[in-house]
């Protein structure tokens, strides 16, 4: 049976680079449409809202008039400026970052700004999403224009109120300045009139030259930091409503099973239990994309407290119908089969250029190696949760989701409600990493809330639920070969990539288990062949921080290091030589995006070489190291970001690994909040270290074998290395995302150092499987 189409948004989410000039972006178009609408019909709206009361004012009891200059800017009579942050905040710093860009062009004093999380509203904000390192590059121009637009409207109003031409006025620190008279006036004096001013034509906007920036490029703390350090409610799990009830949800351990029956009478007799019932599955989870509305079948228990719901869950006895479940997927079998299949010809060709066979025939030396990496869990520290209230035909949802618009649509689809009947409120997210691009928890709580009509429900997954029902980073295998000439130069490269598909009939790998033909050295060599073979594994997968790249970084950069060693070349020089191609000769990469999005930009060897040169300098690459200690280098390009890293690593004879320090040099274009960008790189490095040393999800007959942090360790502070984080900011390069590209090179930089220190090449993740411990 073909499942119903549950897609609620186009699946544009792929690893791709984005053009710096993003003026044609869909989000931008929507935004301009809003301006136009508000310019024509917005007078009434603006006036109506101008008399409203801001949240802060409502709290302290005062009444402050406020004026909505745009969907992003609202100025209060008391001088405070509300800037609306459109995208979800999951730790990537966007709630601070986007408003900073607006404030820069608005000439607002940052201390005057209150950042407000925007409603979910595509008509006003375009695409609202935290993923793909897209938030900054997709909104850079739009946010600058939003700030500049509001500033021009304030200036126009000031000119009218002050009876002076606009040309005599300037702005600074939330003030309009009339230089001739020496007078200056706070923005708030003109805000009400400004809100009814015609919206200036985009062509007339004059954006600042980066040399004029007074905010961007400096260090700013997160706008929620005060609330975070005081434990104030912010996150999805913190949502509380009058009369709230609490739900658990139990799904079939073998993925896809449905509940036939359960010990309902007993469960309902337990203290605090209000209701217990079966939910049918919706859609098909395995192989779904992040924009599909899906729900696994299971049993929900609703109780008077979270604990009562969790405690009752422990006594649940369910008769599972496993006829719809996959009970065959076993990681050890997949791993054993992959090794066998790797020795055969690959089934599908991904890339074949030049004359690979001839190059191998003529090779002075052939290097071969086989690599393996496992499934990995996101392990967000805030376990999945979601709250909802169904009342009077309306469904209200509070969701820590990276794709809140898709979540809102999913809630409507699974509830059979018209989209207008559903409102989703975005909360701060206790860790995204790609897990919360999926909205399965929204689809679950929507059904529970409908059943509990009139009562707000908080659905809380346990840690064990969270680990078993993740959308995992898929495991994979690579059988590499490289041909070298007499000078140690690589003349041909091939990979037999072994991956997974949802079943034997599938023509493509399961979500994020595909290999794109643009990983170094594929675009840099004449003779390249990439083949693919798939095995069936009905394990749900999805994007995880730097999708694809988080595994390819380790295997490709480790293997290239093997090639360099075989050719007796220094790895820095090997990489620099490989990328010694003029930028204009690089191919145009294929676009994975729907129409309306800009084409990706070609890879820049100049920028790549610059980060490698610089990190080598900073780490004093090539210096003598003591016995058992070495430097390792790696480079990786993803999400339009160029990152090179050097790790200083000791390895004892007992395979105890100490990572003393990691140097990271990244080129993400212009850095607009230095503290935030550094935080992202620092975090990516720690994340990579966890993946290198510990992270492994395995499964037996479709059942996930790890349940909590005792079986799935994460890096702790005692193993955290010292870090040196540096950025290159080439002129005239707009910012790209900082949340993902610094992760992929971490693993190979450390692994290459381990090889140099010990002579042992580890080709399988995590390193704990090969007897290494991190100390």
């Amino acid at each position: 049976m073909t499942p119903p189409s549950n897609s609620v948004m186009p699946a544009f989410f792929e690893k791709t680079s984005y053009a710096r000039d993003d003026k044609s972006l869909a989000a931008d178009i929507s935004r301009r449409r809003f301006f136009k609408i508000s310019g024509i019909a917005g007078g009434g709206l603006t006036l109506g809202m101008a008399m409203g009361t801001s949240q802060a004012a409502a709290q302290d009891g005062s009444s402050v008039a406020e004026a909505n200059i745009s969907p992003y800017v609202q100025i209060q009579a008391n001088g405070r400026i509300n800037i609306f942050s459109k995208n979800p905040e999951c730790g990537q710093g966007i709630k601070t970052g986007l408003p900073l860009i607006i404030a820069e062009e608005l000439d607002a004093r940052w201390a005057d700004v209150d950042v407000v999380q925007a409603d979910i509203d595509a008509s006003r904000y375009g695409l609202q999403l935290a993923g793909g390192s897209l938030s900054t590059p997709m909104n850079w121009t739009a946010m600058r224009e939003a700030g500049a637009t509001a500033r021009m409207m304030i200036l126009a109003a000031a000119a009218e109120q002050l009876y002076v031409p606009v040309s005599e006025l300037s702005t600074r620190d939330s003030m309009v300045i009339h230089e001739a008279s020496g007078e200056s006036y706070p923005y708030s004096e003109f805000a009400e009139l400004a809100s009814s001013m015609p919206v200036p034509d985009q062509q007339t906007l004059k954006l600042k030259d980066p040399s004029e920036f007074s905010l961007l490029g400096r260090r700013f703390g997160g706008v929620d930091n005060h609330a975070i350090v005081q434990g104030s409610p912010l996150f999805g799990i913190d949502v509380r409503r009058e009369g709230m009830v609490y739900a658990s949800y139990t799904k079939s351990p073998a993925l896809g099973g449905t509940a036939r029956s359960f010990n309902q009478a007993h469960i309902k007799s337990l203290p605090g239990v209000i209701d217990a019932f079966i939910l049918e599955p919706f859609g098909e989870l395995i192989g779904s994309t992040i924009f599909d509305a899906v729900r696994l079948g299971g049993v929900s228990i609703v109780a008077t407290s979270t604990w009562a719901a969790i405690k009752a869950k422990q006594e649940l006895e369910v008769d599972w119908d496993l006829s719809t479940a996959d009970t065959s997927a076993t990681w050890s079998d997949i791993s054993a089969n992959a090794l066998r299949l790797s020795k055969q010809e690959g089934v599908m060709e991904i890339l074949n250029k030049g004359n690979v066979d001839a190059a191998f025939d003529n090779a002075e030396q052939v290097v071969e190696a086989y690599y393996e990496y496992p499934y990995v869990s996101h392990a967000n520290l805030e376990p999945q949760n979601c709250s909802a209230l169904y009342e009077n035909g309306q469904l209200q949802v509070w969701a820590p989701s990276q794709t809140p618009q898709a979540g809102e649509a999913a809630a409507a689809v699974v509830s059979g409600l018209p989209p207008a009947a559903v409102t989703l409120n975005q909360t701060r997210i206790g860790g995204g990493f790609g897990r919360r691009l999926n909205n399965d928890y929204v689809s679950e709580v929507a059904a529970i809330a409908r059943r509990m009509e009139g009562r707000p429900v908080k659905l809380q997954w346990t840690r064990e639920d969270d680990m078993a029902f993740d959308f995992f980073r898929p495991g994979g295998f690579h059988a590499f070969r490289a041909a070298l000439d007499a000078e140690g130069r690589m003349t041909a490269f091939s990979d037999h990539f072994l991956t997974q598909a949802k079943n034997d009939e599938a023509e493509q790998p399961i979500e994020t288990a595909n290999l794109t033909p643009d990983v170094l050295p594929m675009e840099h060599l004449q003779n390249v062949r990439i083949m693919q073979t798939m095995q069936a594994a009905a394990i749900q997968t999805g994007p995880m921080r730097a999708p694809g790249s988080n595994a390819f970084g380790f295997v490709f950069q480790s293997f290239l290091h093997e090639v360099a060693v075989a050719g007796n070349r220094d790895f820095r020089d090997f990489l620099l030589d490989l990328m010694n191609i003029p930028d204009e000769d690089m191919p145009q990469p294929p676009s994975n995006l729907p129409p309306g999005f800009p084409p990706p930009i070609p890879f820049s060897n100049t920028r790549a070489r610059d980060v490698i040169f610089t990190v080598a300098d900073r780490a004093e690459w090539g210096r003598p190291m003591p016995q058992g200690r070495a430097l390792g280098l790696a480079f990786y390009y993803s999400h339009s970001g160029y990152v090179a890293q050097v790790a200083d690593v000791s390895v004892s004879s007992a395979k105890e690994v100490t990572v003393h320090k990691i140097w990271s040099v990244a080129d993400f274009g212009l850095i607009h909040n230095r503290s935030s960008a550094e935080n992202q790189v620092q975090g990516s490095i720690m994340d990579g270290l966890s993946q290198l040393m510990y992270a492994k999800i395995s499964f037996e007959k479709g059942i996930i074998e790890q349940s909590n942090f005792h079986q799935y360790p994460l890096l702790r502070i005692s193993r955290a290395p010292a870090l040196d984080v540096h950025f290159l900011e080439p002129e005239d390069v707009a910012p790209t995302g900082a949340g993902e590209p610094a992760l992929p090179p971490v693993l190979p930089a450390i692994a290459n150092a381990i090889f140099t220190a010990t002579g042992e090449r580890v080709r399988k993740l995590p390193l704990s499987e090969s007897g290494y411990t991190l100390v």
Binding site: G222, N225, F235, I237, G431, M686, D687, I717
Partner: protein, 169 residues
Amino acid sequence: MATLNINGQTLDIGNDIDPSTPLLWVLRDELGLVGTKYGCGIAQCGACTVHMNGAPVRSCQIPVGNLSNEQITTIEGLAAADGTLSPVQQAWIEHDVPQCGYCQAGQIMSATALLRNNPNPSDADIDAAMSGNICRCGTYVRIRAAIKTAAQTMSGTAFYNADTGSQVA
């Protein structure tokens, strides 16, 4: 009426509460003190760290029925009554420690307990005291730096009274 001593106040939790309920869920669901976070439920992550008579404990492991006169301090009890943040909280802001921020209440509670006993901790002291707290976002280098800044600010002065859980000027 059962009561708990939380942040210097005696709070009613009613008589109906299941005594096996972990303190974590009483704080969050019954008392609305949601700064203490659920992460793992098995004392692996430290997100639920609170102080019991001044010592850091995992509130997911403490059945509320086992509590009687213990003084509990949560993240909500660290700032002074006038809103002045504790030196540790201030240092966390100064170093812009949080990424997602979910673990940071637990981190701050562990750091606060460390500095009460050891006003001038070394890196090794910090690593030992903070190893029970996972930060999934990897803010560890900033946590180390913030603890050192807080240590300098405090110069050995107590900033809340562990016996009563109340704020000391």
